[in-house]
Symmetry: C2
Subunit: 134 residues, 2 copies
């Protein structure tokens, strides 16, 4: 399997674990140790295994958690690290996400996840789109 | 200089270039080639040097661009890659950001930037905070 296929598969496994509510499967996808971080939508950054994995435990334990579908994954790989940018459809609303992975032995393990809302695109009078300027 | 100091310095140079409106300085901080990506607040992911660097050119050319101050940078380094999570104060409003770097020769060059709004924290009736559940 190419690195690109492997990292796309690891990314898919992350969303499959979320969809299944499988905390154990999700936790093992993340790298061991405290060199991991996460920025959930609307959250400040959280760092370290206890905080990051704990946040996912809390989210997965919520029966009202949303359904998330990953679309348009695109992998970028450089040596022993890679990341996948994608669209998350969260109960039908589009978010922009990046999932970063490090090679650990023969596996790709997550080291950072960030997901953030995509603004409603609206064509303004001057023809520009609705993107904010940072 | 330790890797941690170097990556924190590269992160600071990114915000200094933005504050100065120095497009050339900002562009050279990014890695060459198309293995770079960016998710601006409210934007979908953009990939490749033309799209990413072009977006920064557009942002820096806007005289009404906001002031951004980086606070609480925290570096995580693993071999030839590292990332800094931090708070961006954008005209006084807090965003959560991650800046990812790859070692290129003796320098750390940016390969991904993502910045996203932090929700207003409000204590709800059940005592939980205002974080969204993903």
């Amino acid at each position: 399997m190419s690195d690109e296929s492997a990292i796309i598969a690891a990314n898919a496994a992350f969303y499959a674990a979320f969809a299944a509510g499988d905390f154990t499967a999700l936790a093992v996808l993340w790298a061991d140790g405290d060199g991991i971080s996460c920025i959930h939508p609307g959250w400040p950054p959280i760092v370290g295994r206890a905080a990051v994995i704990g946040s996912w435990r809390d989210i997965l334990s919520n029966p009202a958690r949303p359904q998330i579908v990953c679309a348009e994954p695109h992998a970028i790989i450089d040596r022993d690290h890679g990341h996948v940018v994608c669209i998350e459809l969260v109960d039908g609303v589009a978010l922009a996400a990046a999932n970063h992975f490090a090679r650990v032995g023969s596996a790709w393990r997550m080291i950072h996840h960030q997901s953030s809302p995509i603004a409603q695109l609206a064509t303004s009078a001057d023809g520009s789109d609705g993107h904010s300027l940072h």
